[in-house]
Amino acid sequence: MIRYMIKNNLKLMLRNKWVIGAIALSPILVIAILSSAFQGLMKSYEGVDEFHAGYRVETDMMQDSMEQIKEAGKEAGIIFEEYPEGDVKTLMGNNNLAGFVEMGEETYTVYVSADYAVEGMTLTYFMNQVMEEGCNQALHQMLPTMQQEEIELPIEQLDYMPAINSTDYYGIVYIVYFCWCGIASAIGVLASEKKNGIDRKYQVSAISNVKLYLGKWIPIVFVNMIEMGIAIAVSVVLLDIHWGNPWMSTVLMGLTIMGSVAFGLMLYYISRNLVVTIIVLFISVFVMGFFGGCFETYMFSTVSDAIKNASPIYHVNRALVEYSCMGQSTYTNSSVLYMLIIIGICSAITIIVDGIRKRGRV
C-alpha cells in the first residue's frame, strides 16, 4: 500500500525542520534583500510618469487604428500627439517628445530620444505589444482578405499591460524560481534511503516501479506545496506582494511544483547522487530563469522571443505576473501545457531508468 509509504516519507521530510524552514523562507529572504535593488532594476517602469510621444500616419487607413492606439496609450501614460509634417528629430527636440512613431503601411518606426532612455523603452515595449495584439486580432478575423491591399486592423480593444511594481514582479518571479529547487526538501528521504540501503528492501517486495515513484513524488510535492504556501503567505503579509487571480495562480504554482519535483527526481534517479542532482538542477534552473525573466525583466530583455519561449519558467513567470497586474494572461495555456509535459516526460523517464537499473543491477 502506497499510502503508508507516502505517510512515512512525509514524516521523514517534515522531521528535517531546518530544511523545510530554509526552503520556505529563502525566497522571502532573497526578495527582501533584493527589494531595494529591484527599484533600480525596475526604474524602467516606475520612474516613468506620463510622457509625450509624437506620431505620424502615412496612409489614411491606419488612422482608425491610431485612434485605438492613442486610447491604449493614455492608459499606459503615453500621450500621443500628431505631427503630420516636419523632420522627426527637430520635432522631438522642439516639442519635448520622448519618442516618435511613424506608422507606415507595412512597417512602423519608433524613434527614441537618448535623453529619455527609460521612456523610450516603455514606448518601444508598448508599441510592440499593441501591434502584436492588433495583428493577432486582425489575423483570425480577416484571414481571407489578407492578400488585399487594404488591410484595416479591426482592433476592438487594445490591452496594454499596466505597469507592474518591481516588488510584485521580482517577488512572484523569485518564488517561482525557488519552486524549481523543490527537490532539495527531499534530502531527508533520499539521503536516508541511500545511506541505509532502503532501495534493496523495496526490491525484495512486489511493489511496482510506478508506485515506488509515486510514493516519493506525492509526498515531496505535498511538502513543497506547504513550503511555497508559506512563502506566498509571507510574501503577501510582509512584503505586500500582489498575486492576481488567486485561482489560476494557485493552479499554476501547483503545477510548477509538480513539474519541478518530477524534474528533480528524474535528475536524482539518473545520477543517483544528491550533490550531482543539486548542481545540475541549479544550473538548469539558472539557465531557464536567465531566459525566463528572473534576472532581467522579460519586458525589457534583449533575449529573442524564440529563446524566451523555450524556457518553461518564462511562461509561468509571465502568466503569474500578468495575473498580478491584469488578472488574466494569454500565457495561461502555454504554461499549463509546459508543466504537464514536464510532469509526464520526467516521470516516465524516472520510472524507465529505475526499471532498467533494477533489471540490470550490477
Binding site: 500500500m1 499510502r3 503508508y4 509509504m5 512515512n8 514524516k11 521523514l12 522531521r15 528535517n16 531527508g188 536516508s192 534511503e193 541505509n196 540501503g197 532502503i198 534493496r200 528492501k201 523495496y202 526490491q203 525484495v204 517486495s205 512486489a206 511493489i207 533489471r359 540490470g360 543491477r361 550490477v362
Partner: protein, 255 residues
C-alpha cells in the same frame, strides 16, 4: 510439489573480471535451517542478494518455490523475508513506523497492519520501544528492528545475512532463539555467518563457502568427519580453518 524451497544451478556473479560467486549449486529443503559459512569476501551476501533479486546473476539460474524470481518476481518475492547485513532502517522514523513502512509493501493494511506491527516488535522484544526513533537505538536494538521489518508478512523463507554482527552475547542468543522459534513454526531459514558456534548451534545443514565456491556441505558431524576421519574432539572452527586456510581474507568487501 517437491520439498525443495530454493535451488540454484551454476549461479555465478562476476564483477568486472573478478568472479565473486562461482557456479554455485545449492538445494535447500523446506523446514531447514541452512547455514552458509564463509570468511569475509567469500560471496555470501552476493549470493543472498541474487536470490532476493537485488543483484543480477551473471550466469546460472535460481528457482524459488519452482519459479525464477528474476522472471516471476511478483509471484514469489513475498515469500521471502530478507534481513540484510547492512541495517536497512530509517533513523528518523520510529520503530513502529519502520515496521509499518516495510510491512505495508506486501499489501498489508489497516488493523491487520497494526496488529502485525505489534507482533513483529514483540517478536524482537522491542514492543516497549515502539515509539522511539531508530537512530537512538543501540546496535543490538537496531539489528533486532532490522529483523522486525522483514518478518511481518510471514514469509516462508527467511534469509538472515549476518544478523549478529557487532552485538553482545545476550542479543545474539535472543536472535538465535527467535530464529529457532520461527523455524519451529514452519519457516525455512538461510543463515549466513562467519561465527562457527552460531551455525553449529542452530543449523541443520551447513555449507562452507570460500572464494565464491561451496567447498563442503553437510551436517556439522559430516563436516567434522571430512577433516578428521572420525575423531570427535575437533571443533567446527578447526574444520573451517582447515578447509579455508589461515590467510587473511578480503576486507575490502562489506564488513
Amino acid at each position: 510439489m517437491s520439498d525443495i524451497i530454493l535451488s540454484t544451478k551454476d549461479l555465478t556473479k562476476k564483477y568486472q573480471n573478478k568472479v565473486v560467486v562461482d557456479s554455485l549449486n545449492l538445494e535447500i529443503k523446506k523446514g531447514e535451517i541452512f547455514g552458509l559459512l564463509g570468511p569475509n569476501g567469500a560471496g555470501k551476501s552476493t549470493t543472498m542478494n541474487m536470490i532476493c533479486s537485488i543483484v543480477k546473476p551473471t550466469a546460472g539460474s535460481i528457482e524459488l518455490l519452482g519459479k525464477n524470481p528474476w522472471k516471476r518476481k511478483k509471484e514469489v518475492i513475498h515469500k521471502i523475508g530478507y534481513i540484510p547485513q547492512d541495517l536497512a532502517i530509517h533513523g528518523n522514523l520510529k520503530a513502529w513506523e519502520n515496521v509499518e513502512l516495510f510491512t505495508s509493501l506486501y499489501g498489508i493494511k489497516g488493523t491487520a497492519l497494526k496488529k502485525t506491527i505489534d507482533e513483529s516488535l514483540e517478536y524482537v522484544g522491542l514492543l516497549d520501544k515502539k515509539n522511539e526513533f531508530a537512530k537512538n537505538f543501540s546496535g543490538g536494538m537496531k539489528r533486532r528492528l532490522n529483523i522486525a521489518c522483514a518478518i511481518g508478512h510471514q514469509p516462508d523463507l527467511l534469509i538472515f545475512d549476518e544478523p549478529t554482527v557487532g552485538i553482545d552475547p545476550q542479543s545474539r542468543n535472543f536472535i538465535l532463539e527467535k530464529i529457532k522459534e520461527s523455524n519451529e513454526k514452519g519457516a525455512t531459514v538461510i543463515y549466513t555467518s562467519h561465527y562457527m558456534e552460531e551455525v553449529e548451534a542452530i543449523c541443520t545443514r551447513i555449507a562452507i563457502m570460500d572464494n565464491g565456491k561451496i567447498i563442503a556441505c553437510g551436517t556439522s558431524e559430516e563436516l567434522k568427519k571430512l577433516v578428521t576421519n572420525g575423531s570427535d574432539n575437533i571443533t567446527l572452527e578447526e574444520v573451517f580453518l582447515t578447509l579455508t586456510g589461515k590467510n587473511l581474507r578480503d576486507y575490502t568487501g562489506q564488513a
